[in-house]
Amino acid sequence: MNQIKVQTEPFDMAAIQEALRRSSAGIGAVVTFVGQMRDINEGDAVTTMTLEHYPGMTEKALQAIVDEADDRWDLMGIHVVHRVGPLQPLDPIVLVAVASAHRGEAFQACEFVIDYLKTRAPFWKKEQTPEGERWVDARHSDDQAESRWKK
């Protein structure tokens, strides 16, 4: 089954992957993406980051992305967890884990979900650097990554 969570507290990557991969002995492949906070961005040191989101819409947007992945590929479970609030370098920000009978579909669906999340789910990052706070700008490369999946 699919699972979507948006939470302030850290998540247990191992427990999520273990629950997903053990959910069926028909699963042959689990592909997991973990995005974590880097201590540098655009060349500047980043000491803390704060993630804002749009409660209610966030969950709906993630659900729509997960549903579309399920439509496009033959999958056996998708788990998405995204943190909000304050984060430190090395903190995991997001996890996308996809199970399937075969690896090709799990790889594609996992990359699809994170590519769509990056452009369609209402999260915003604000970085604290030694020079002060700043909102992170959207990346052109994320738009390109999303557009690869347009049918």
Binding site: V94, W124, W135
Partner: protein
Amino acid sequence: MINLRFFARLREELQTGSETMEYSSETQTVEAVVAQLKSRGGSWSDLFGDGQTVLVAVNQEMCDRDSSISDGDEVAFFPPVTGG
């Protein structure tokens, strides 16, 4: 009445996260609401002005500027997203 919401950089620069607006013949599309907000001057006209990328969601779904708005809708404005 429609419920406006502002997030991230917009929320900060407009110094408000939400407000209500009378539902009228002037608020029946996203474009019309944006025109009203822009007419307030100051940060409002800067942030909703030409060349600014502001995304819109109506009832928590991404929408275009020509999307229509009904009485009671939640209309949210925010910058391009940067999560993940």
